[in-house]
Symmetry: C4
Subunit: 239 residues, 4 copies
């Protein structure tokens, strides 16, 4: 039996808070999930059992290996799409946290060919380009869910080295180098989608240039705590 050292309690707390923030910020509803790579063992990741993110507590967290098999089977149901997380952690060693969501603002961009582009500095990270995952290319006719390692690998391949991928008829997945980072990206990817949708009504928007986007993204990565602290208070009611 594999022995995995316990994760840092601060990381566990952050993962729970991240779940609550994603719900409070309406990035996830009862569906969607957030995971983090294990801080003591990069071949493992932590994620809730099958549960609405808004209800997750520390007791609901499960440690998975990168094949998305629970290290200790707690005899409960798991997210059927956990392969999104495991396969991305395999393909992207630098990725520390992953969000999968059905944020309403992102669905229309996943269903059409209009590229999601950074309309302001808060979402400069979109400047790298946002691919769309077409599950049919790998899975043919499916129930749209990434429920197998093969589909997870195909998603990770479509994601490539990008921070965000849209999934046709389904949702989106984001990665980051910390929980705070990926939560920031999820919130502002969705907000950018809403703003771009509105701007398109007025004509062809002027997006950030590639270089502006890179610089803006670097800058905002230094201000994650400012957002996190606010979101945390909203989500948890702490003061």
């Amino acid at each position: 039996m594999t022995i995995v050292p316990p994760a840092d309690p601060a990381l566990v707390a952050e993962l729970v808070t991240g779940n609550r923030i994603l719900y409070d910020q309406k990035i996830v509803d009862a569906f969607g999930h957030l995971s983090v790579r294990h801080d003591k063992d990069p071949t493992k990741y932590l994620m809730s059992r099958h549960l609405a993110p808004g209800l997750v507590t520390p007791d609901d967290l499960v440690t998975f290996d990168l094949d998305s098999v629970p290290v200790v089977d707690i005899g409960k149901r798991y997210y059927s799409e956990r392969f999104i997380h495991g396969e991305i952690y395999k393909a992207r060693p630098e990725v520390v946290a992953v969000v999968h969501c059905h944020a309403p603002q992102l669905i229309p961009f996943g269903a059409t060919k209009v590229p999601l582009r950074p309309i302001y500095h808060m979402s400069g990270f979109l400047g790298a380009g946002v691919p769309i995952f077409e599950i049919r290319d790998t899975g043919g006719i499916t129930d749209m869910l990434v429920r197998t390692p093969v589909l997870g690998r195909a998603l990770a391949a479509s994601l490539g080295d990008k921070p965000v991928i849209l999934m046709r008829g389904h949702g989106a997945t984001m990665v980051g180098n910390s929980i705070k980072h990926v939560v920031y990206r999820a919130v502002y990817a969705a907000l950018n989608a809403a703003l771009q949708m509105e701007a398109l009504r007025l004509g062809e928007p002027m997006f950030l240039s590639e270089e502006e986007a890179v610089l803006a993204a670097q800058r905002n990565d230094n201000a994650l705590d400012r957002a996190w602290n606010m979101w945390q208070r909203e989500a948890l009611g702490a003061n």
Copy 2:
């Protein structure tokens, strides 16, 4: 006098919770209603007396026969449109719960010819097609309400074997094989309408194929509790 055994208290509680969830999720406002077929007598159904769904308590529930006559007249006002429920239960023996609502996102689709179609897996159940009920075809010029058995039967006929029907100039009606099922369908039918509306701005969206929709709907029917538990906490404040 007809003797009807009391319904399962758990079913009664679920019906009250379902009313509160529909209000909290903005599927109904002060208008609209939710009913469930009686668990001990399939020729009866339970529904609130004339009352805003957000205010319904167990004491407000009334048992109706399938002609929508209260088994015991409690001397209060009933929903004038209860025939929607009774006539659908007659026509669709497998249906266990019915929602009638004026969800804002659905009204535009009932007033135009653009078909409501599943833009993502959460609303695969729309893949079966969403008919529109034109009350004029049966009732001529009316106050738009389904206030008679004849109109209720016409609605049930238009619904056919589908899960959702739009009603021109009025609202929508959904059916399901449980309260949780029909509440899920109501929430995601409305959300799909909003997402489809947005996607249409960007061009012709790629909807789920018929087969994808069937498979997605089957899959999601296995995750109703995940949504219900979240919605219940939001609506009732329980933890």
Copy 3:
């Protein structure tokens, strides 16, 4: 000095509640007002002093004559647009309550020529037609406010026998035969505007016919309490 008998305390309470509901339902923000004709003296009406509707208490209510002069000057500031109310009460003896608001959904319809029409039964009262008040026709270049008896009379004349009027570059005014009636009309006029706006994206919506609108309006006027009771609980937190 004029002696006016005190208004029914129930009416006073309803006026306060109506103010709170209009705020809670986002029909008014810090601006806008609700008045009611005095139940003991039809040549008087009650309205708050200059105050955000969401902050109104019974102590803030003032009795005005139909020239919009306070019966007893309490030495505080009054709404500069109280002439909207007084002049409508003069011109429309059957009107019992008046709302003036800047509901966001209604502003676009007041700034363009697209007529507001009833897209569903809840707003059948719009079937009578919704005129637009152009203040320039009477006042020339103004600050847009109905701050004189002359402008109030012009507004009342434009309103004619209709329930709702839009005001270009300003807002809207509704009348009703009770506080509950006018609050209902304000809420559903705004909601109809939002729904019509969305439906227009999909093509030419099928509106209620004139006769359907009349019948639907009559019907809904019998269900005002159902809405009021829900809104009251939302606004006041009572149970």
Copy 4:
């Protein structure tokens, strides 16, 4: 060492409240800032240290000179864009308060060429015209932030004598002759943007004429307390 007399405690309280209102009214999220010119020394201004506006307390306020250097360095991080404030206070001696924000409704207008114009009397102050700041003209390729005195001066120059400026790919900045004034302008600039966006769907809206806008703006500047008192209660929960 410079000795600056302490600001009026009422001003300090108002600055904190203004921060909370801007957050509660969704003009700022975790980003954006509000400053006020020092009431005892016009060559100084007060603003929070680097912190989400919704979390600002009196202890977080810092006094800056007009070069945006803290009078006393408290050893914490400051907003990198404080030069927006300092340079505007330099260029506009009559300005007492400044808001910088990323209000979602304003972003689309900053990314396209459609001018923001006053659609109703509440936003008459927009009638003066709303310039757009293009940071590339001064800074070339940047991270979009106004992080230097040079960029601050360029922004102030683009603002000229206007009350509001949009910033391409970034946000907006408003000025006023008091905290209440600039908060009012921020709220209604954003609301106007939303209403104009909707009205544009219906055709070419009729905006306020230049003279109507001037008169309406003067009038509304007399009703700032009515809005502020309501917003304050919403933001602080006081009664």
